[in-house]
Point group: C2
Chain length 414, copies 2
């Protein structure tokens, strides 16, 4: 329900959840557009998300050097600071909400933008409902972010594509490296994604170039150690090497994560664990084959690799923030910016608003029909979906051979 009456007041933006390569591009989209907006009187950044609002730690974005703010486009991680704070249900405990209202009133905040994943959209939604209930006029818009790509409604999430591009690029490079000797090896690479396999599936883009994984295992389907070993041995015996992509969230049929399964009598694969899943699987494959095996965990590298970001992702991330502010100024509230994409005759991304009520707390997974029937690869439909998202390279600023990331002054409001 768009209202046309201009709402004059300050805006605050917060970032929440795990960082990405482009979450700051979204923040920049919000900050730049808000600074340029006539009815937004001041732009604050919440230090560590909602926690910064609760603690009255707001940074004045108007005080920052515009050139430094622009560098946010290519600066990974959450420049304003993030949090993992889970806000209570206002019906159960409204302490936090009263405090948020108090801070909003103190700074005359009329626009609240929250940049994050599932939990953040839930926070957004709850704050919006509370403000409406108490009759405090404030427009609340969620700006999506998650490398996991698991937000409902939107075609994809800002942050996913850059992580996907980094993963596919790294697979291409590792593939070349792991197949260099006359005697090949088995290489197992672990990607993030506890419940959704989007990132692991993105490794297939490297396979399309002839330098990718031979096998791909996602958490959308049950994992069988027996089938896995059969697959690996078959590929290794056939071509003398084997490159595998596994999601951190792969699990047995009983729901137990493979990374956490203890020594058991049923599968006999239990090992004391220090490393992650890749190391564990490497140990099991080595024991079963005697081959040279290496486990690689992409770890934090995959979610903060701004140096290998997708230009498409950076632009869409920025635009998400821009559209959030424009929509709020136009009267929208209780929405998340999302994408509806066309791929038939070239890739086109449309920005749309999704109801926070519908988005919050629902995890979107890789469709089962995009996973091959042997549960060990993904179909061309995934390739068609993902390819346009990683298109384009960015040209970040370098200084002494290294990226020049944004350095904010962080001037706190008194």
């Amino acid at each position: 329900m768009a209202k046309n009456k201009p709402l004059v007041g300050a805006a605050v933006i917060g970032q929440s959840g795990g960082p990405s390569a482009v979450i700051n591009a979204s923040a920049y989209g919000v900050i730049k557009t808000a600074l340029e907006s006539e009815c937004i009187t001041k732009v604050y950044g919440a230090h560590h998300g909602i926690v910064g609002i609760l603690n009255d730690q707001l940074m004045i974005m108007d005080e920052e050097d515009p050139k430094e703010l622009e560098r946010l486009l290519h600066t990974p991680s959450s420049a304003l600071g993030s949090c993992r704070y889970k806000i209570a249900d206002p019906e159960a405990d409204d302490t936090d909400y009263k405090r948020i209202l108090e801070i909003f009133q103190k700074y005359n905040i009329r626009y609240f933008f929250y940049n994050g994943g599932n939990d953040s959209m839930d926070t957004c939604n709850k704050v919006n409902r509370y403000m409406q209930k108490v009759g405090y006029e404030c427009r609340v818009i969620g700006v999506p972010k998650t490398i996991d790509n698991d937000l409902f409604g939107t075609d994809h999430c800002p942050g996913f594509a850059s992580a996907a591009k980094y993963i596919a690029t790294s697979f291409m490079e590792v593939s070349r490296d792991s197949k260099v000797y006359d005697k090949g090896m088995i290489t197992i690479v672990e990607c993030m994604g506890r419940h959704a396999g989007w990132l692991t599936a993105a490794a297939v883009l490297a396979s399309e170039k002839g330098d990718g994984p031979d096998l791909i295992y996602l958490p959308e389907v049950d994992f069988s150690m027996e089938d896995f070993l059969d697959d690996v041995i078959r590929v290794y015996n056939g071509q003398g090497s084997c490159l595998v992509a596994v999601s951190e969230g792969i699990h047995y049929a009983d729901g137990t994560f493979v990374s956490e399964a203890q020594t058991s009598g049923t599968d006999g694969f239990g090992h004391a664990q220090l490393g992650g899943l890749a190391a564990r699987l490497a140990g099991i494959v080595k024991a079963a084959t005697g081959a040279k095996v290496r486990g690689i965990e992409l770890s934090l590298l995959q979610r903060c690799a701004a140096h290998c970001a997708s230009k498409t992702d950076v632009e869409e991330a920025f635009n998400s923030g821009k559209v959030a502010v424009e929509s709020a100024v136009a009267g929208e509230t209780g929405k998340m910016v999302g994408f509806r994409c066309e791929r038939k005759n070239g890739y086109v991304c449309h920005y749309e608003l999704f109801d926070l009520e519908k988005v919050a707390n629902y995890e979107k997974k890789v469709p089962l029909e995009w996973i091959t029937s042997d549960n060990a690869f993904v179909t061309p439909a995934f390739v068609d979906y993902c390819t346009p998202l990683i298109e384009g390279e960015t040209t970040p600023e370098f200084e002494d051979g290294l990226p020049r990331f944004a350095k904010l002054k962080k001037v706190f409001a008194k």
Copy 2:
């Protein structure tokens, strides 16, 4: 001893040892220059290094598309295939040398270029001595390659700088990521370098930008678990987070690698091991501090990250190959191409020839005076040494958002 008589015949280039981001740039320098040389009649690539010569598996480089060969500049790993074959001493067993001579005679090979690290320079040296002994005129030049940067004589080795740039860039990104929450964490990142700490030390370049490790541990000095824990806890208590760079080769005073130390009564830190050193140290630090701790192993990623190569490195790698051919054609043999660098008034790299006799089998380590007295960081002298080497970014070709690596036809000589 340069001879001026032109030596007419074929050339062969082989690659050996661990790959790097720019070893193919060196190979391209050799191949391109050899193809253009009037007295080189044909250019062969040995499939999997010296093993390819022994097995009579030579690829005809003249048959390759020049455009595809040019892509070697930005293609990681060893495009001709690598090996880890250690050749015998000709005095002890000359079987391999007789076979090499046979192949050289078969194809009238008069130029042998070998692209690798310490062992490869040893192979080069032995082949050269043997050919001189039996009176077969063949010019042998080593083209250096090693991310480990441990070759004697030369200021640095092609491959090191790109790995260093990738490592410093990744540290900057991980640093931003690991410090994003209101409650910080301890992050331990393991870099390659079994005996020499050059790569781990390169992480300091990120610290120079304010986004690097707080502590750096190299294999050049003995590691003390007690001092390490004291260091980490002090930094963590002081700033609420701690980022650590460790070399895979750190070892206790008795020489035992920390990564391999078994459960022992002396230090009490022994753990069953599946992951590498980073995971092991993370487990120990977590037990000692209760903090959130993450171990990250850069693994193969650091040695094949062509997408983050140093332009300086790519150029120097190419020129090493070029100079190798030019020197051989001018009459040189038994030499390795190396660098003598000036840094006083801007960086200048001079290409020089070093005697293989002196280079082979000697490991150059980080000078002890470049390590701080607490054994937990490196000095500004290292920064001055390393900074110019990572200067400049490359512009590799992309296709569908991914690097377009060279695809060789690999036409084998009959």
